[in-house]
């Protein structure tokens, strides 16, 4: 898929996803060792984006499974299509077939509804399987994932074991909302994505908001970086920095001052209590020249 880490970095950059050397190393390892990649980190640092960029960079199809509480194997792996089976039985009612023949008829792949994971394993083209927010699913579901993630296979009682045609590049993301099982974690290569450094965020802004001037982008990034160090409920994510940069550009602001920050702060901070806390302190939080 990728011959070297440098190639991976370059290809992701071509798809507008910039990564640091250590992140590239971990992703490269996951590909090379054919292990799932578990990405953890605060909300909005680009965990899901990473999977999307990987799919784009390798020209593979992205299969996404969004986890939530109550997600079960019928929605994630496969399900038998009861209605269709029933219909089939009714049609064949008059043909006087034995039970064995009838059974063989209705438990075939034709009646199998493929859900994302089975879809990923059976795919003939290369795929990236994204299992988003694993920490939102429940403990039982984690156990289902174990067989898939370590051996890339699913056992369906009526059909037998289905092995992956080619090992899909699997990305799991987690917001660290709750602790989940060690067994699952041990099967993965770990990546902790943190907020980007000043230089990296500046590059991202330049890439995503073309036409922004140097001074403004530096000022706004250093302000956002400082906000993240404050004790607030929801620190601004990269997406919010980009939104803010776009808004400032639309307002044709060329440099930021206390007034403009005050009137646009709600783009960066989403909780009223955070805004209340930061608003009076804006003048002293602004970068000096």
């Amino acid at each position: 898929m990728f011959q070297s880490r440098e190639e991976l970095e370059k290809k992701l950059a071509e798809h507008h996803y910039l990564i640091d050397r250590n992140v590239a190393t971990v992703v490269y390892l996951a590909v090379k060792l054919q292990k799932p990649l578990l990405v953890e980190g605060p909300a909005g640092v680009g965990k899901t984006e990473l999977a999307k960029a990987l799919a784009a960079a390798t020209g593979s199809r992205l299969i996404r499974l969004q986890c939530y509480e109550g997600l079960d194997e019928a929605k994630a792996l496969y399900e038998w299509n009861y209605q269709k089976q029933l219909l089939c039985l009714q049609l064949k009612q008059n043909q006087n077939k034995s039970w064995h023949e009838a059974k063989d008829d209705i438990f075939t792949r034709e009646f199998l509804l493929r859900r994302p994971i089975l879809d990923a394993l059976e795919s003939t083209e290369p795929v990236v399987l994204l299992i988003d927010e694993v920490d939102k699913s429940d403990e039982e579901f984690e156990s289902f994932l174990l067989e898939i993630l370590s051996d890339y296979q699913i056992t369906i009682p009526e059909l037998g074991t289905i092995k992956a045609k080619s090992v899909p590049l699997t990305v799991l993301t987690s917001n660290n909302f709750r602790d989940f099982g060690d067994a699952l974690k041990r099967r993965c290569v770990h990546l902790y994505l943190d907020y980007p450094t000043f230089e990296r965020e500046l590059e991202i802004i330049k890439l995503k908001v073309p036409g922004i001037n140097q001074l403004l982008s530096q000022q706004l990034v250093s302000f956002v970086q400082l906000l993240r160090k404050q004790n607030i409920k929801k620190p601004p994510s990269i997406a919010e920095t980009i939104d803010w940069a776009r808004s400032l550009l639309t307002l044709s602001v060329s440099r930021i001052d206390a007034d403009i920050v005050q009137s646009t702060l709600s783009i960066l901070l989403k909780y009223q209590s955070d805004i209340d806390q930061i608003l009076p302190r804006i003048p002293s939080l602004l970068p000096e020249d």
Partner: protein
């Protein structure tokens, strides 16, 4: 290659000493990963980190052991040259900067005599080479170190701080901040400098010890850094914050397990209405049976927390844990005491947990002297609050039962025990010390359903999993 494999194995063993759970599969993955990325320092580090560490909480320990094991240890031929280089360039710039600073403006006079002015200067200018130089000065001032020093690293770092005038410098900086109305953005940079220097001195000291005494010391450092098994009252501020995060995650795990049990059951009584409704899809044949939810009893919980001295941290953790999963209980009431007891339930109703804890500790009247008096508290508790509890409630007492040689009032506890469903006692004191000195847990134990030793995060996790 064999050499590298051995190194990684030994390193994994060291991590286990520090309380990190490393499996054999992970070690194999680490070896494969190291082979795949090569031995450049940064890549090698990333390879091991991404395969051996599964919990963010363990990363600081990993960083420390990685540095000490692969770079400081005498027997580690592996990357010695890199380390050497780093030191050389380091030293060179620092020396240069120092010359600069002495020749430079302003600070020249008196700078040699009082390092604290140098420190102030370094912080104000965010001059990292100078900070490093000062850090080295501080550590050198400690003189010759004994092997036992490893147990007192914190104390030694503090001594080194005093030697370079740390506290004077911090005071001066605070004054400057007020006088010159320093902006927050700059002040943040100052704080970064100070915390960098603190960490730098600690790492210098550890390096020094490991170089001098070898791998023995390394094991001790790993053991000392194991925050899962560290007694609650030994934790420093950073570790307390780390554990708070951990407790929140732990609580959510418990809560989600509960949610699962509350969902539609897979067995039990058949829910006829839903079964028939669902059968309509299949032309009236009930292919799938639907079951009714099980009703789960929600107990009422009463927490009685000793918040004197060494027990306070533990009580705080427990309150945080319980209020994070409050939907698990029909009602929680909480009380704080030292030698008098006060209810703090109201603070938790409309506040975030952190705010509630702050307010409860600041406003509640739980101490008239700093010495706990269990007897007096039980008597008061029985008189003022006991009649308001339902017989279904569970009372959890958090405390070390060290009564400062006062009257025990066991009858009072007995009467409390008869009024509630059960009493559980969580004791943060090590079990070896129970019933020694002024600890009288043995006298109270017969009136409790169970008494648990709960002195570190690991035990807290075990106990709550078993109870809640």
């Amino acid at each position: 290659m064999l050499f590298l494999e051995e190194k990684i194995l030994e390193f994994a063993r060291l991590l286990r000493k520090g309380g990190v759970n490393v499996s054999v599969t992970q070690v194999i993955a680490a070896i494969q990963a190291a082979a795949a990325v090569g031995l450049a320092k940064e890549d090698f580090y990333t390879a091991l980190l991404s395969t051996l560490i599964v919990d963010q909480m363990d990363q600081p320990l990993f960083d420390k052991l990685f540095r000490l094991y692969f770079f400081s240890l005498e027997s580690s031929v592996f990357e010695k040259h890199t380390d050497h280089n780093e030191q050389e360039t380091d030293g060179a710039t620092a020396a240069l900067q120092l010359v600069d600073s002495i020749e430079g403006t302003g600070m020249g006079r008196g700078a040699g005599a009082t390092p604290y002015l140098l420190l102030v200067k370094a912080v104000r200018e965010t001059n990292y080479p100078l900070l490093r130089k000062l850090g080295k000065m501080g550590i050198e001032s400690l003189g010759d170190l004994e092997q036992g020093a490893v147990a007192e690293i914190d104390k030694l770092v503090d001594q080194a701080k005093v030697a370079i005038g740390w506290y004077q410098a911090v005071n001066t900086l605070e004054k400057i901040r007020v006088q010159e109305k320093v902006s927050e953005i700059r002040y943040c940079k100052w704080l970064d400098c100070l915390s960098f220097l603190e960490k730098y001195m600690e790492s210098l000291l550890e390096d020094l010890l490991v170089r001098k005494f070898g791998s023995m010391i390394l094991e001790e450092i790993a053991l000392a850094a194991n925050i899962r098994e560290k007694e609650f009252f030994r934790l420093d501020q950073l570790e307390i914050q780390e554990i708070r995060k951990q407790i929140t995650k732990m609580a959510r795990k418990l809560a989600s397990r509960y949610a699962r049990r509350y969902r539609r059951a897979k067995h039990g009584k058949i829910d006829l209405r839903r079964t028939i409704k669902n059968a309509m899809i299949n032309g009236g044949t009930p292919i799938r049976l639907k079951y009714r939810r099980r009703v789960i009893s929600k107990p009422e919980l009463v927490l009685l927390c000793d918040v004197s001295g060494s027990v306070a941290v533990f009580s705080e953790f427990m309150l945080q844990l319980v209020y994070t999963i409050q939907n698990r209980f029909s009602h929680i009431r909480s009380f704080l005491f030292v030698n008098t007891v006060d209810e703090v339930t109201e603070y938790f109703t409309n506040n975030s947990i952190e705010e509630a804890l702050d307010k409860a500790f600041a406003k509640a009247r739980y101490a008239m002297s700093p010495f706990s008096d269990y007897g007096r508290v039980f008597r008061q508790f029985e008189k003022e609050y006991l009649p308001t509890f339902s017989p279904q409630s569970t009372l959890i007492i958090l405390g070390d039962a060290r009564n400062n040689y006062r009257h025990d009032e066991r009858d009072s506890l007995q009467r409390i025990g008869e009024q509630v469903r059960k009493i559980l006692w969580f004791n943060p004191q090590p079990q070896e010390e129970w019933n020694t000195e002024d600890s009288i847990i043995g006298i109270y134990a017969p009136y409790c359903r169970q008494v648990f030793e709960c002195r570190n995060l690991k035990q807290l996790e075990e106990v709550t999993e078993a109870i809640l």
